[in-house]
Assembly symmetry: C2
Homo-oligomer: 124 residues x 2
């Protein structure tokens, strides 16, 4: 139960597309991630995913359109909606997801990270 600065928490996050859990509220995780390049197309059949961009620009490709998020822009990808996040330059993201959400959805890829790794960090 400590105060955590959202921007400073990015300091030692070096790997792209590797979300880190920085907080929990009820059944939701608050995660941060640095993004650059293309994520894989994926969806989460039961779980919505909230995006907030702090720095940079994130394009989220959806099946029928794309949305562009600049600094302090927010967007929620509803459950079941296929999406692909893309960042041309390094972009800083805050994500709100259920504790159970895998960031690559049902798609296992080289980018898939284990939630257990993240919890280890949170409890360290």
């Amino acid at each position: 139960m400590n105060v955590l600065n959202l921007l400073k928490s990015f300091d030692d996050l070096s790997e792209y597309w590797s979300p880190r859990v920085i907080g929990r509220v009820n059944q939701s995780f608050i995660k941060i991630a640095k993004a650059k390049g293309e994520m894989v197309w994926h969806d989460h059949s039961e779980e919505d995913e909230f995006f907030l961009v702090l720095k940079g620009e994130l394009r989220i490709d959806l099946e029928d359109r794309a949305v562009i998020l600049g600094p302090m822009d927010t967007f929620t990808v509803p459950h079941g909606v296929k999406h692909r996040p893309v960042a041309k330059e390094e972009t800083w993201l805050v994500l709100i997801e259920l504790a159970s959400t895998k960031h690559t959805g049902d798609v296992a890829s080289d980018l898939t990270r284990s939630v257990d790794d993240q919890l280890e960090w949170l409890n360290a």
Copy 2:
């Protein structure tokens, strides 16, 4: 399913301590609020409450201590913990709470706002 700028969403929020729902992700609401002065002491017996300060400074009094949040600082008040948010100057907050959380907890006061009012705004 639209992009919403978190900072711009404060533009027409004039009343203090009157949280507005600006998004929903799973069972959680993302709310914004302008704070100035003292909130009432309250707790939420079952529900955690996440605070992010965007502008200004928020002190959260707890029973045994107080925490100070500046810009981009985050803090989660665990369920069952009595707290009182206080802001000397106008402070901008983002809150993440369950859809069911009342912002004054079990305490009904002049500051209590109905979630139905907020949903009306979200769906407008």
